[in-house]
Symmetry: C2
Subunit: 471 residues, 2 copies
């Protein structure tokens, strides 16, 4: 630490109790650390060079390092199993260069995606991925996150041009130049996306941008059953109709939104699809609205509302926007359980399996007596159940999640569509891809981080024989 203190300004190194605590856990996390699982220091680099110098020292002294950005991850991604250093990249928050003509932007890892969207707004541009609030670019790359826009614009995997990364030994590499399309050598950009801080510290990224749809509207369509709603989604996909978003909220979720009072509108408490429908002209949007109305009608939609003004757009999307918050309120206030926790789950399946896996999982959760609300990025067949539980119900919740994952895997799906493996889903990754595939991941890790100092015990355990606990 004395050597690191020579590199960084005084206010960029801390071991205060408050800062160690705030870097150890969040309310949102589905997996909480023990009291020992806490870093010894938090450092705040300002440049890639700072990070490189820090890594040279950490490598030399074999100090475990947990890189951290917005701390909005959910699977215990930054649990400090081997107490060392947290590298907090949030001071690296510069938008360095907008290349308007090339539809890309160069940013540091600590830029929050909402700030980036605000910066792009006057240029009529947008960045595709829209994960939870507060997420920063470095963490979004590391988690391979996405959000409601992924159906149209893809996940982080499809939205990064190149990365600047500090490797375990302090070497700084850039994965690619700035051409969007390239087949020059191994796809290192793609390897770091989703590597969860275990292969390198991401310090800078060039991101692809999209021109905002010139015209866009929102449509909201309730159905009698999840089966009808998801069948409509399948049908729209089979017609090759390109929409900007296709989201599902179940009846319980709609009840919750009504109960929260956070929107002006009162919603039908039935499984509901939310569409973003965009295009280059009003005529195109009108044509798409017509198709969506026709197809959802065939699947016995209960009504079809679409926005005719900007205010109506905001109003119709508002229910989707408050989904997460209203689920928490529901647990804490409506159920009168101030200690209620929220387990935000995540899985994805091939689209044909969506109706059965969602329905069976909701039934299973309700059968245990736990409450849950459900939101799905339906166009991507990626589902979240928000499970409300009290501390005493932790074990029941855990078992429900395990069965949910097994159900998704049996349907040829994945244990995580966009939240990542972190600490909480390591066993599920093994179930999903098998020992040989995880072993290959280990070999890649060993080749790149021989002393395993980079975010140890995430994705897989450093030492598979070690027992770990879940909190």
């Amino acid at each position: 630490m004395n050597e690191i203190k020579k590199i960084l300004p005084e206010d960029a190194v801390s071991n205060s109790d408050d800062e160690l605590a705030s870097h150890a856990d969040t309310y949102w996390n589905s997996h909480h650390p023990t009291s020992e699982q806490r870093a010894k220091y938090v450092v705040y680099p300002s440049t890639t060079e700072d990070v490189s110098k820090i890594m040279v020292l950490c490598r030399e002294h074999k100090v475990p390092v947990v890189p951290m950005n917005g701390a909005s991850s959910l699977e215990g991604h930054f649990i400090q199993t081997r107490q060392g250093l947290v590298i907090d990249l949030s001071r690296m928050n510069k938008i360095k260069q907008l290349n308007r003509d090339d539809l890309d932007v160069v940013v540091q890892a600590g830029v929050a995606w909402e700030d980036l969207q605000e910066f792009l707004e006057p240029h009529n541009l947008m960045f595709g991925p829209d994960p939870g609030p507060g997420a920063q670019i470095g963490g979004m790359v590391a988690t391979s996150c996405s959000g409601t826009n992924a159906f149209r614009y893809g996940t982080m995997k499809e939205n990064v041009v190149n990365l600047t990364v500090v490797l375990a030994d302090g070497t700084v590499i850039k994965t690619k130049q700035r051409a969007r399309k390239s087949s020059a050598g191994y796809n290192l950009t793609g390897l770091f996306i989703g590597s969860e801080g275990t292969l390198g510290v991401i310090t800078e990224a060039t991101l692809k941008l999209h021109v905002k749809p010139l015209k866009q509207t929102i449509a909201v369509v309730p159905f009698n059953s999840i089966y009808d709603a998801t069948s409509a989604v399948k049908d729209i996909l089979e017609h090759g109709i390109q929409l900007d978003a296709m989201e599902l909220m179940d009846g319980k979720m709609m009840e919750c939104v009504n109960a929260s009072g956070e929107t002006e509108k009162v919603w039908t408490e039935k499984p509901t699809l939310f569409f973003k429908i965009g295009g280059a002209s009003d005529t195109i949007v009108k044509e798409l609205v017509k198709s969506v109305k026709e197809i959802t009608g065939k699947h016995e939609s209960l009504k079809f509302e679409f926005a005719k003004s900007d205010d109506e757009k905001t109003e119709l999307w508002s229910a989707r926007k408050v989904a997460l918050w209203s689920s928490i309120n529901y647990g804490r206030k409506v159920l009168d359980e101030p200690a209620a926790q929220l387990w935000t789950t995540d899985y994805a399946v091939p689209i044909s399996k969506l109706p059965s896996v969602i329905s069976e999982t909701v039934k299973d959760i309700e059968d245990t007596g736990l409450r849950c609300t459900t939101v799905a990025h339906a166009g991507d067949a990626n589902v979240h159940h928000f499970i409300v539980y009290t501390p005493e119900q932790r074990e029941v919740a855990k078992q429900v999640v395990e069965r949910m994952v097994k159900r998704a895997l049996a349907a040829e799906g994945t244990c995580t569509g966009e939240h990542g493996i972190g600490y909480g889903k390591r066993d599920y990754l093994l179930w999903e891809v098998g020992q040989d595939t995880v072993d290959l991941m280990r070999k890649i890790k060993m080749g790149m981080d021989y002393y395993r100092i980079l975010n140890p015990d995430k994705i897989f355990q450093v030492d598979p024989r070690e027992k770990t606990e879940d909190h």
Copy 2:
């Protein structure tokens, strides 16, 4: 070989001169082997298990292995620098399972993409990438290829759900299950895409499918200059107008097509944009055609033709279709040089640099006295110059290509947008990403193929001190 002969049927192992020769080189290759650079045996496995057994033996005896599919690669990807075994996967040509509802298909590595398209046609489905004729899925994955459809549907990187791969030691892994979206562990699928046979032998893939645009037309628009044409492309991108393809052919290329007599139509011999314009209804397509006409008009297009029938569509696209063949004919017949060779080059740049890099490169080539025609996937800013040269002009052509790559790199571009590094572009990869980034690729290779038996000397040399020659 005695052990391998026990595994495979008699007709699946060969060391005949003919077969060794046909697996050593093609006319198309820009880099040809020496007479020693030839395998000792060619083997034809039928299953993943066959490949696994072969690799176990090759690992044990440290035999270099070159996996091969359609042999349509261009950068000496299968030059046998260390004479060993060619694994020819073309007998693994089964389409195993179409999941119509999930828009994916499971295929073996030896399936040719044109056969796959034919199979999908009656289902109204298509596979996105459309590389050179004869390419097979395994090689397409390994090269990270694309083609004219990449502007709309992405490259191989965006079109593979999962891969079955035989590793250097014979271990068989599957990279993922069948959910389209996943952030479960390292993106191994993405790592094998573009790994050029150096990290594993791809034996099976699940591919994403697309619903064919319900309505589509072709528009052909000539301009006075490359500058005008590429400015129109930039302008269309900046308007966020989603088209299915946006291709450029230069004036020389159009001359060539006319000279070839391979199309019925006579073309304006000027830089010309070819558009595929598709959508879910006639109204949408009409609206898009209107926008394209307006924008190209602003950039002083010379005329605007679009197809009103299927026959007209075929006719208007025919020039793009015969581009490569007519360039070869031009060299061999029109120039009366039967020994003429074609150097098919490849680079990509950020779109804003497209006008200057294309124009300067064409001028440079013409200044040397060589002939060239130019075709670009303009929407992706990915350019090919077809350089015609006689054996005596090889060195001049090589220097022109080097200057072309340096120009693309100076524009923050890449030395290859879709053909890969292979044997021919290893130096350029170093120029492009630097020694540290290539060293990281080496580390990954070492972690996965310790004896470096998998397609050695591709992407980078096994032994960087070794001198290699270009042919």
